[in-house]
Amino acid sequence: MQSSKLKLEIQRDQKKVIPFEISESKRLDVVLAGENAEVEIVGLVLGKLDEEKSFEAYITHVAPNTKSNVNVRGVLRGKSKFDFRGNVRIEKGAKGADAYLRSDVLLFDDAKMGDDTPALEILEPDVKAGHAATIGRVDEQMLFYLMSRGLSRKQAEELLIEGFVNPIKERLKRGAK
């Protein structure tokens, strides 16, 4: 299995968008070192057969008014497996920090979500921090709606997956803008 590591330090008033498709195991370390620094991480995982992928994101807010947003979406099929470990740490003094950590994964066939841990460590009260994670299938009710409009189950599922993945794909296409 390939693995890659990336370390970044984001300086004052810089904004960085890191879009990527996770194709192996990846580790990302981001330090928001300067005031008003911003980072946006957009990740897409498409797993099939018996692929095993993992993504670790360690984000540290050091300076005030820094912002981070991690958004990872995955569609896992076959016997694939994905691990996501996110850790946002907001150091004391990073006032006005805004952190959001999100992972959504759709599972099919015999796919597994190995370890989904979006962790937060907050040492500064004056912050906004949240995380959310969902794991599951496509929504039955949405499926039912589309099927009632004459689509087959498979078509409806494809459509919903497309809708799930597209926003991230768009973001990836636009690249680091």
């Binding site: 962790a119 009260p125 912050v127 906004k128 959310a132």
Partner: protein, 396 residues
């Protein structure tokens, strides 16, 4: 039995020579005692007043070696008794009951035996030992009560007798002893009946290495520096549902490392974890949770919500949720937010005439409300007051 009614006579060279059992001839226990002395020890005994006397250096020495030394007020249960197997412990308690125990208010009603077994002694430490021993075999003794009696001696002299009573309810306990049921491991809640002020004294905070537990006074306790609590639900049957409500308040010097585990082992199970934590005065709260769903547990629904409130600069809050899912046919969600009390919220409440402390505790109460509303009313009231108490002087 010796523990209750026995005593020892020492000769000048401090060699124990004689043992007395103060058991009146009419007492039912007298026959048992005589029989035991004959069959177990094969010694001669002689009645002397209300007591039996045994002239035997060997027997005296045996009793001494077993750790039964001491006078009525200093006798105690030797340590080795606590390491005995359960049935021997029960036999020990039974023997002691023959000496110092009696039945009180026994009656039969609806086929159930009511009443109490009472142990009376002038030696409170002995009863404390006994209480521990009883707890260790699964009997629930009640608390030890103390009475002071005055007795008139000749020449108008008064003598005070202090006696202590350890009682236990018969119902339930007898069945547990008779059926030789093991200590049931379910945790029980016992309501606090009364609180008695016993004055001020030094309190010790005992810590052991790392995260080990230790036993103090019959209660398993853990280090108080970090409080760890991870209640777990194993959802093993189809359609089972488990809910974990967790509430943590960490004040100065405290680290509350709490959370919960949900293990989905069967299809169509569902569960929910709601965790609310508040850090104040430099306290630290951590939510640590695990949600695991094994292969084949189809149709599982799970929702986790963990919110944290940080009240001041020195406090800290962490969240470490973990989800492990081996089954695709499920829905699982997790959500969390960390916040401080909004300036606007405080300002609004204060503009309505509340003090800063009142406003803060009102907001905190609102924050934990989803959990409090699940509690029985009396606990909820108690909890709100506790939080108010903790908030006092925490702001500004």
């Amino acid at each position: 039995m010796y523990l209750g009614d026995g005593c020892m006579d020492r000769s000048a060279g401090s060699v124990a020579r004689r043992i007395y059992f103060a058991v009146p001839p009419k007492d039912r226990a007298r026959k048992k005692l005589e029989r035991l002395l004959k069959t177990v020890f094969n010694v001669k005994y002689a009645p002397k007043g209300i007591s039996l006397t045994i002239n035997s250096t060997v027997l005296s020495k045996l009793f001494l070696d077993l750790g039964f030394a001491g006078t009525a007020k200093t006798k105690k249960i030797p340590n080795w008794v606590f390491n005995l197997p359960r049935n021997q412990k029960l036999a020990f308690i039974e023997g002691y009951f023959d000496a110092d125990g009696y039945l009180r208010r026994t009656m039969k009603k609806d086929g159930k035996q009511y009443g109490q077994i009472v142990f009376a002694s002038a030696n409170k430490n002995l009863l404390e030992d006994l209480k521990l021993l009883m707890i260790s075999v699964g009997i629930d003794p009640l608390k030890i009560s103390t009475y002071v009696k005055e007795r008139k001696l000749y020449k108008e002299r008064l003598k005070e007798y202090t006696s202590h009573y350890l009682s236990m309810n018969i119902r339930g306990n007898l069945e547990r002893i008779r059926d030789k049921k093991e200590f049931d491991s379910t945790i029980r809640f016992v309501r606090v009946r009364s609180i008695e002020p016993i004055g001020k004294s030094r309190v010790y905070d005992i810590e052991v290495d790392k995260t080990a537990n230790f036993i103090a006074n019959g209660v398993v306790v853990h280090n108080s520096k970090i409080t760890m609590k991870y209640p777990s639900c194993y959802l093993a049957g189809r359609g089972a549902r488990g809910e974990i409500l967790s509430l943590a308040l960490a004040n100065r010097g405290q680290h509350q490392d709490v959370g919960g585990k949900l293990m989905f082992l069967a299809p169509d199970t569902s569960g929910e974890i709601i965790s609310k934590s508040v850090s104040v005065n430099g306290g630290r709260t951590s939510y640590r949770g695990l949600v695991k769903c094994i292969k084949g547990a189809k149709g599982v629904k799970c929702n986790v919500r963990c919110d944290a409130l940080i009240l001041d600069e020195a406090s800290r809050s962490d969240t470490y949720p973990t989800m492990q899912v081996d089954e695709p046919d499920i829905t699982m969600g997790h959500e969390a937010s960390v916040s401080k009390i909004g300036e606007e919220q405080l300002f609004y409440l204060m503009s309505r005439g509340l003090s800063e402390v009142e406003a803060t505790s009102l907001i905190v109460n609102g924050f934990i409300e989803p959990i409090v509303k699940e509690l029985p009313l009396e606990y909820a009231v108690e909890l709100n007051r506790l939080i108010q108490l903790n908030m006092e002087g925490s702001v500004g």
